[in-house]
């Protein structure tokens, strides 16, 4: 019987074994370094990025685009979702548009945003924004329509008007749903920023990935993938803590 308390240790050992095997295979010449550089080479590439300080402007560019798109996407997604749930005309107009945007892979809009907004940060924010806003819109819109009718009736019978309903029932419900989807939204925001940079940019982790690809620098590519992974995982941890704190009633 496996002790669940030590699951993390078993996973860590398994990961270390895979890395050791990978390293050994690389040193033995079984792996082509052009396609699969050994972990030590990836590590050196990662350390180099930080050692000469050239990573910082790229990290700043990606973070700014992702977090800007995330914030805008949440605000606009919530506002549109609330409006659509409470005003039938808004729902009638918005639902088809949002459904189409939800159905297509929205990253295909990246070249269009570059034409419209240029190769600067704005086109990356726009892509992150559209990815996040559609997700949050449907989260809020369907969430409000499924809000517990008993709670609505409770506030109404206590004398609450429409504003009181929004304040005491809909907004707390919306907060819960948005927080429940925050991790997915963070993933979407970074996807938008990186893909946008991948298409056309002068800075950013996506731009560096594109550069690594064009120069066949697999070690740099692995290092960047690892870096993005760590960054997103850190944001996931922060989002998880925020979720646990704000949803402590649940």
């Amino acid at each position: 019987m496996l002790d669940p308390r030590y699951a993390w240790l078993r996973r860590l050992i398994a990961l270390a074994l895979v890395l050791a095997l990978w390293e050994a295979a690389g040193r033995a010449g079984w792996l082509n370094p052009l396609f699969a550089p050994s972990p030590s080479k990836v590590w050196v590439a990662l350390v180099d990025l930080f050692a000469d300080g050239r990573i910082w402007p790229h990290l700043e560019a990606t973070f700014s685009a992702a977090l800007g798109g995330l914030a805008l996407g949440i605000v606009v997604g919530v506002l549109l979702g609330v409006a659509a749930a409470l005003i039938p005309l808004v729902a009638e107009l918005l639902e088809p548009v949002m459904s189409v945007l939800n159905a297509i892979p929205r990253v295909i809009l990246a070249p269009l945003f570059v034409i419209w907004l240029g190769i600067g940060i704005a086109s990356k924010v726009a892509l992150s924004f559209i990815l996040v806003a559609v997700l949050i819109f449907f989260t809020v819109y369907t969430g409000i329509r499924q809000v517990d009718r008993k709670l609505v009736e409770r506030v109404v019978t206590l004398g609450g008007n429409r504003l009181a309903l929004v304040q005491h029932v809909y907004l707390p419900s919306v907060t819960a749903w948005v927080l429940g989807n925050l991790k997915v939204a963070v993933g979407f925001a970074f996807t938008g920023a990186c893909v946008g940079e991948f298409v056309a940019a002068t800075h950013g982790l996506g731009y560096l990935l594109s550069f690594a690809q064009s120069t066949y620098n697999a070690a740099l590519m692995f290092a960047l993938i690892l870096l993005i992974l760590v960054v997103v995982m850190l944001i996931f941890v922060i989002a998880g803590r925020l979720e646990r704190h704000l949803l402590r009633w649940n």
């Binding site: 008993k150 709670l151 009736e153 409770r154 506030v155 109404v156 019978t157 206590l158 004398g159 609450g160 009181a164 005491h168 029932v169 707390p172 819960a176 402590r248 009633w249 649940n250």
Partner: protein
């Protein structure tokens, strides 16, 4: 409008959900300080009648007339319907601030009522961290803190286990008797109706349920809901009510 001592007069109320009426031409009155129960089988439109009184349901015809303002009528649901993201205290406070009370005063009032209902020290807990009985008491505090003149109760004790139920009922009866609040209780539990009420109305089986009988319960007050069962008036009334209810259900079954 209702008479001098009548707080609520339900007159010829018919409620339909589109097709055949669930409830037809129901009439009853709730006087000042009286405890009235409406009993009947499932599907007889008991809850619909309460919803119509509070304005959550539009009747097909008839009316629920009252001398009271909306703020003077409290409602206790079968589900406690507490806002899960608010603490017990804030749930009670909400009922008061929506009534226009300033928040600081409402906080003091909420703590007083929570303490009165045996929930001192539980004010900071969220509903999910309270037992069923405690949640019911918070819901009761939310209603009573508003100092209503009439409380509409929709099977409020149905979800509680036997011991908690009898304790909550005992507290409710004591508080209602002390404060002179009128109650209209909807229940399918005949025993509960008789031990708590001054008057009981019997609804027939729905659809097209009608009020078929009205019983006065002469058990003296103040009452202990458990000991009321031993009152000489209880058993004959219970037998009569049970027989009438059975007849109403059987009659509908034969008609169907």
């Amino acid at each position: 409008m209702p008479g001098a001592n009548t707080l609520l007069h339900v007159r010829d109320l018919t409620i339909s959900y589109g097709g055949e009426p669930v409830l037809e031409r129901a009439s009853l009155s709730v006087g000042e300080g009286s405890f009235v129960s409406l009993v009947g089988p499932s599907g007889s439109g008991k809850s619909s009648l309460l919803r119509a009184v509070i304005g959550l349901q539009q009747p097909l015809s008839g009316a629920a007339e009252t001398t009271l303002s909306h703020a003077e009528i409290g409602l206790l649901f079968q589900d406690d319907a507490l806002l899960p993201w608010k603490t017990a205290r804030d749930n009670v406070v909400l009922g008061l601030t929506l009534n226009g009370m300033e928040r600081g005063k409402a906080l003091v009032e909420a703590d007083t009522w929570l303490e009165r209902l045996g929930l001192a020290g539980f004010g900071d807990r969220f509903p999910r961290h309270l037992s069923g009985g405690q949640r019911k008491r918070v819901a009761l505090a939310q209603v009573l803190a508003r100092r209503p003149k009439l409380i509409l109760m929709d099977e409020p004790f149905a979800s509680l286990d036997a011991i908690v139920r009898s304790r909550v009922i005992r507290d409710v009866v004591a508080l209602v008797e002390q404060s002179g609040i009128s109650v209209l209780l909807v229940t399918h539990d005949l025993e509960e109706a008789l031990t708590l009420s001054d008057d009981v109305y019997l609804l027939s089986q729905g659809p097209r349920a009608r009020i078929t009988q009205h019983y006065h319960v002469p058990i003296p007050r103040p009452r202990d809901p458990v000991l009321s069962r031993t009152d000489p008036a209880f058993a004959p009334l219970y037998e009569r009510l049970w027989a009438d209810l059975s007849r109403a259900v059987d009659h509908r079954a034969e008609a169907a």
